[in-house]
């Protein structure tokens, strides 16, 4: 098994893409889950504000999602551009 420079670079890019998206998915997954858990609590305490609370949860989750999207962008750059 001979390893050439270009092959090694491509292998590193593919491994990097997997690690970027794999590790990058952990934080948003946990963080968005926390936001949703607290939204459930808030609706339980104050069911009349369900609409406002759902909106607040979604905005908060969208911000938490951004790092997951950065990971996806980096993974796609490593796969198709670099």
């Amino acid at each position: 098994m001979a390893i050439e420079g270009a092959d090694l670079i491509k292998a590193a890019a593919l491994l990097g893409a997997g690690l970027s998206m794999g590790l990058g998915a952990i934080g948003p997954g946990v963080g968005e889950g926390m936001a949703a858990a607290k939204a459930c609590e808030a609706i339980g305490r104050n069911p009349k504000e369900a609409g406002l609370l759902t909106r607040t949860m979604l905005v908060g989750q969208a911000v938490a999602e951004s790092t997951g999207i950065y990971s996806l962008v980096i993974a796609l750059l490593l796969l198709f551009v670099v």
């Binding site: 858990a37 989750q61 796969l79």
Partner: protein, 327 residues
């Protein structure tokens, strides 16, 4: 192809023994931690309510037995790896056996810890509301059983890897595909097992606080747990593709690393969403018990929140599929 001058049989045996050690070593972590948590909560429960010690100890032992099953799966896989007759030794078989051990080892962690949580919290629940102890134990049994599914997925993948005939497969890049298959289901099972346990723990507490809400609480728990299992189902899907697709021979490093990376990406990417979905389900179940008249609203917000939390697992699956089929 020989590695470090070893013949095929030596290489395969080394891989099987390391795989067996990984299966049991990693597989012991979850069950032991979960059962310790259960015992600590049972002690606390007996301190609060000595007259119900019998019910609490019985409940603790039943819960611990279920939590133990994840590490029993690991033990079975480890023993198979140690004593299996290898008919087609070689590099692909070696990779397959190593992957089987790693898959089962990682896959047992989440389910072991997860099943310990409802087992422990149900002991406290019995101390608080001894009159409904049978209902609490039943609810705990349903919750802990669902927690075991990720470990069962890992065992299925490990058994396929153990007995898959490898003769005639191209060594490169098939070895990487099989290791990736083990990592994908094994790692993704961690989050789902733990997340399912959090939801089940809250439901045991909910049943004891408001016994009349049992039906709504159990339903919400099951829906929440089902969503929390999806990352491990994605992991299983990627594993099946990696195990059963035949890859053309390619001795380039990038072909092998790409498939390994696909498994690693889905495995790691499933951990966070599994835990996050469990946190959400825990919050929803707790509040369904307190405000059962708003259980519909709570179920809706739980599912919307879980769907958003799930999105990163879907990104990881997309990147894995691109790594397998496109690049």
């Amino acid at each position: 192809m020989t590695l470090l001058g070893m013949d095929n049989l030596t290489l395969t045996h080394i891989a099987a023994y390391i795989g067996g050690a990984a299966a049991m070593g990693l597989g012991a972590i979850g069950a032991a931690t979960g059962e310790g948590f259960t015992a600590s909560r049972a002690s606390e429960a007996i301190a609060r309510s000595q007259e119900n010690a019998g019910d609490i100890i019985k409940n603790m032992l039943v819960g611990q037995a279920i939590s133990e099953s994840a590490s029993i799966f690991s033990l079975v896989i480890a023993i198979l790896l140690l004593f299996l007759e290898v008919s087609d030794p070689g590099m692909v078989k070696a990779a397959s056996l190593l992957a089987a051990g790693v898959c089962m080892g990682f896959g047992a962690i989440g389910s072991g810890v997860g099943a310990g949580i409802p087992a422990g919290r149900s002991c406290l629940a019995i101390a608080r509301q001894p009159a409904v102890s049978a209902r609490i134990t039943t609810n705990m049994l349903i919750g802990t059983a669902v927690c075991q599914t990720p470990a069962i997925f890992a065992m299925v993948v490990a058994l396929i890897l153990l007995f898959k005939p490898t003769g005639g497969l191209a060594a490169f890049p098939t070895w990487a595909a099989l290791v990736g298959a083990g990592l994908s289901t094994g790692l993704a099972a961690i989050g789902s097992g733990y997340g399912g346990g959090m939801a089940a723990g809250a439901s045991c507490e909910g049943v004891s606080r408001q016994p009349e809400t049992t039906t709504a609480v159990t339903t919400t728990m099951l829906v929440g747990q089902a969503v929390a299992q999806t990352p491990s189902v994605f992991g299983l899907l990627i594993s099946f593709i990696l195990m059963f697709r035949s890859f053309p021979e390619s001795t380039t490093l990038s072909a092998s690393v790409g498939l390994l990376s696909a498994g690693l990406c889905m495995g790691l990417g499933g951990i966070g969403p599994g835990i996050g979905n469990g946190l959400t389900a825990e919050g929803a179940v707790r509040w369904v018990a307190r405000r059962v008249d708003y259980s519909g609203d709570l179920m809706r917000i739980m599912l919307v929140g879980q769907a958003v939390s799930q999105s990163t697992a879907i990104y990881a699956m997309v990147v894995s599929l691109v790594l397998i089929f496109v690049v």
